[in-house]
């Protein structure tokens, strides 16, 4: 800081300010720094206690599977009861680190982004249980996004999360509209899909039902990027590996494709006013040939559209290429400060292994229950969308084509950059390249700052 001493009053003010700063510094009370309590000292056990226990869960609103699972668990083990608190996804993700660091953290919490929580010692390391329960029989690719190293790189290291179901995303097609356009099969390539959309547009049918007031159009954006990008490169960025970048040619190509679609009018004209609820409703009411969504919407679409809807994996760029799709665990973490570590992990293991629990996962979320692949799959109605979803999960597992959601890359990137920039992209305000570069710039700032 340079002092201009020409005017006395001014310099005195500067000195005063400097003294004030020095006092703040001298007080030595940098905020924070208090390490959270670790509740270690509890021996790892795979036996469930027979004492009365109340387990607490912090979950997002509109995610009823925890209600059904906990109810069933209490039925089987009456000494264990649950208290579930819910908040919107947005509020929950904003509050999660502080909830975990609080005096009474929830035992289990919905945590889409690990972020700094591992570095700050807020999450229970599940490695001891991994060994004790023999989770090494589970697919490694399913668990790797749930791991994090001490340096804060995801994808490897210790296990910090498990999924209440493992989701897969794809494309839903309205078969009634498809028939009217003479379309018989789902598209096998992106080019084929574009032909269909062109035909739909010409016939006055909305090609893609999507919304972006809350960023959900990124199902489309990323589905396209997935087909052009190098999977490992893309994943390394999502896992925050040092030096990894979003600004790859493949991602730019995918984003430019979105821009082309926007220019061609394939999205609803009021896309930025449409939120998740609205676009799901509007597709259910028969508006739009395609919509990009996950398995969790399968049951609802089936109910609304009956046999007039099908579900398939986003087509690759070239025929015969392997399938790549976003999928993720509905990830939950155990608080390091949990007083019931053994009990809550028992519950998590039960979800992956108990037949009733696995059935609940499939029935309610339409997601794959995960766990040991040799376990029997829950029964589903033949020919239903949920059966399709499970087949798609299996296909992605076979192709090793699962990628995480890019929205989960850092805590702030979705609200701070991906949503606003994608709103600009789908309304043709910026190019695909600009989209990618702006998101990368935000990423660097957040990771660096």
């Amino acid at each position: 800081m340079r002092l201009h001493t020409s005017r006395r009053g001014h310099s005195r003010a500067v000195v005063g300010a400097a003294v004030a700063f020095a006092m703040l510094g001298l007080a030595g009370c940098a905020p924070g720094a208090a390490a959270p309590e670790e509740s270690d000292g509890v021996a790892v056990s795979t036996e469930l206690t027979d004492e009365e226990v109340v387990l607490t869960i912090a979950d997002e609103t509109g995610f009823p599977v925890t209600d059904a699972l906990t109810e069933e668990f209490t039925r089987q083990y009456p000494n264990v009861t649950f208290e579930i608190t819910r908040d919107t996804f947005q509020n929950l993700t904003a509050n999660a680190p502080r909830l975990l660091a609080g005096e009474n953290p929830p035992d289990l919490i919905r945590l889409p982004t690990i972020g700094d929580t591992v570095k700050d010692g807020l999450l229970a390391n599940l490695d001891p249980y991994y060994d004790a329960y023999g989770w090494d029989a589970w697919p490694a690719s399913q668990l790797s996004p749930l791991r994090m190293t001490e340096e804060g790189v995801r994808g490897s290291g210790s296990l910090y999360q498990l999924g209440l179901g493992y989701s897969v995303t794809g494309v839903y097609m309205n078969l009634a509209l498809a028939e009217s356009l003479g379309i018989e099969e789902p598209p096998a390539t992106i080019a084929e899909m574009e032909e269909m959309m062109e035909a739909a547009k010409a016939a006055g049918i909305l090609p893609i039902m999507a919304g972006d007031s809350d960023g959900v159009v990124n199902f489309v954006v990323q589905a396209l990027m997935n087909q052009y990008a190098d999977q490992d490169e893309f994943l390394s960025w999502m896992f925050n590996e040092p030096g990894a970048t979003y600004a790859t040619e493949g991602n730019i190509q995918g984003a430019e494709k979105v821009r082309e679609w926007a220019d061609a009018g394939y999205f609803p004209s009021d896309i930025n006013a449409i939120d998740y609820f609205t676009f799901v409703t509007r597709f259910s009411e028969g508006e739009g040939l395609f919509t990009f969504n996950g398995n969790w919407a399968a049951a609802g679409y089936q109910e609304a559209l009956g046999d007039d809807v099908t579900f398939f994996l986003a087509p690759p760029a070239n025929e015969g290429d392997r399938f790549i799709a976003m999928g993720a665990a509905n990830s939950f973490s155990v608080a390091a400060g949990s007083d019931n570590l053994n009990e809550i992990v028992f519950f998590l293991n039960w979800i992956h292994t108990n037949p009733e629990a696995r059935q609940i996962i499939v029935d309610i979320t339409g997601a794959s229950p995960g766990g040991d692949p040799s376990l029997p799959l829950p029964t589903v109605e033949p020919g239903s969308l949920i059966e399709k979803a499970l087949e798609m999960s299996a296909q992605i597992g076979e192709d090793n084509g699962q990628v995480d959601f890019m929205a989960n890359t850092t805590a702030g990137i979705y609200a701070g950059s991906i949503i606003p920039e994608s709103q600009l992209l789908v309304t043709s305000q910026i190019t695909g390249r600009e989209f990618v570069e702006r998101v990368q710039a935000f990423y660097e700032q957040e990771i660096g700052g």
Binding site: G32, S213, T410, G412
Partner: protein, 307 residues
């Protein structure tokens, strides 16, 4: 003579002692309010200033970074854009309500204090009573593609104007601003109407006899007479314009793009979603300074006018 002198000195001393006692009692009465204010306004303000000089994620160890956070607030285009947006909102939160209020109040100042006037006052006040968050929800629905605004425009034969108002880059910020106008116009009108009621009616009679028209009357009598009310309203509404978190949070979340991003929302996001407590605190301090810089001159102006 001497007797009175000797007796008045102790009396004055006693009076002074009593005054001191009363003073001490008065200070005691002030203590609870000062404690509450000190603990939950001044203390957080001080810690906020402290945080603003650190890089801290809210949980781990904090590192001193000096003025870096302030540099970022003043350099980062997103943050500057949010500040610019809130200045645009002043037009809608301050100019429109105060302007409309002035015109309306002058025009109806002679209206009889009957049922119609009182019922109107009640209705105009309603937006003050409902939570801003609910106003945000009500208006997002008004502005939707299938909402009432477009419906009314179509009925009036202005169908070409219809659009999703909150999702259109050109209209989102003004549309949010008009929510503020809706909330505040009633307050301004009613307050100004009362202010006009206090102005001596003979002044109006005199100037009319003088042959003055509406405009001259407005500028020579009404406006000066309302100086105090105007200062209060401008202060209130400017503060409301700069702290619009509730409305934005429940209507646009800052979109489309960053068209309606405001400081309050950014502080919330940076501080809690991104866990950059230092930067968020610095932004909060800058915001407070902005409010002070805008409001203090208004207060001073109205006082100068009083002399």
């Amino acid at each position: 003579m001497t007797a009175t002198q000797t007796s008045s000195a102790p009396r004055r001393a006693a009076a002074r002692a009593a005054a001191r006692r009363a003073d001490r009692a008065a200070w005691l009465l002030l203590v609870p309010a000062l404690v509450a204010y000190g603990s939950f306004v001044i203390y957080p303000l001080a810690t906020g200033i402290q945080y603003s000089f650190y890089d801290w994620n809210g949980i781990g160890v904090a590192t001193w970074v000096g003025l870096e956070n302030y540099v970022q607030v003043l350099m980062n285009p997103d943050l500057l854009g949010a500040i610019r947006n809130s200045f645009v909102l002043i037009a809608f939160f301050t100019l429109i309500p105060v302007g409309t209020g002035l015109v309306l109040a002058t025009l109806i100042r002679t209206m009889r204090d009957g049922f119609a006037l009182r019922a109107s006052q009640t209705v105009l006040f309603l937006p003050q009573i409902i939570p801003l968050a609910a106003a945000g929800i009500a208006w997002s629905w008004m502005y939707a593609q299938t909402g009432a605004v477009n419906q009314i425009l179509s009925t009036l034969g202005l169908g070409f104007l219809t659009r999703p108002w909150l999702a259109d880059y050109g209209t989102a910020l003004p549309a949010v601003g008009l929510i503020g106008s809706w909330v505040l116009t009633g307050l301004c009108t009613v307050l100004l109407l009362t202010g006009i009621g206090k102005i001596d009616t003979s002044l109006y009679e005199a100037i009319r006899l003088d042959g003055a028209g509406w405009f001259r009357e407005f500028f020579t009598i009404t406006l000066p007479g309302l100086r105090q009310e105007l200062a209060v309203l401008v202060t209130l509404t400017v503060i409301a314009a700069l702290s619009t978190f509730d409305i934005i949070y429940t209507s646009t979340q800052g979109g489309p793009g960053r068209a309606t991003l405001v400081p309050g929302l950014l502080i919330f996001r940076i501080g809690f979603t991104q866990s950059d407590v230092g930067l968020a605190s610095a932004f909060g301090i800058v915001m407070m300074v902005l409010v002070l810089a805008l409001v203090l001159p208004i207060q001073r102006l109205s006082r100068i006018g009083d002399r």
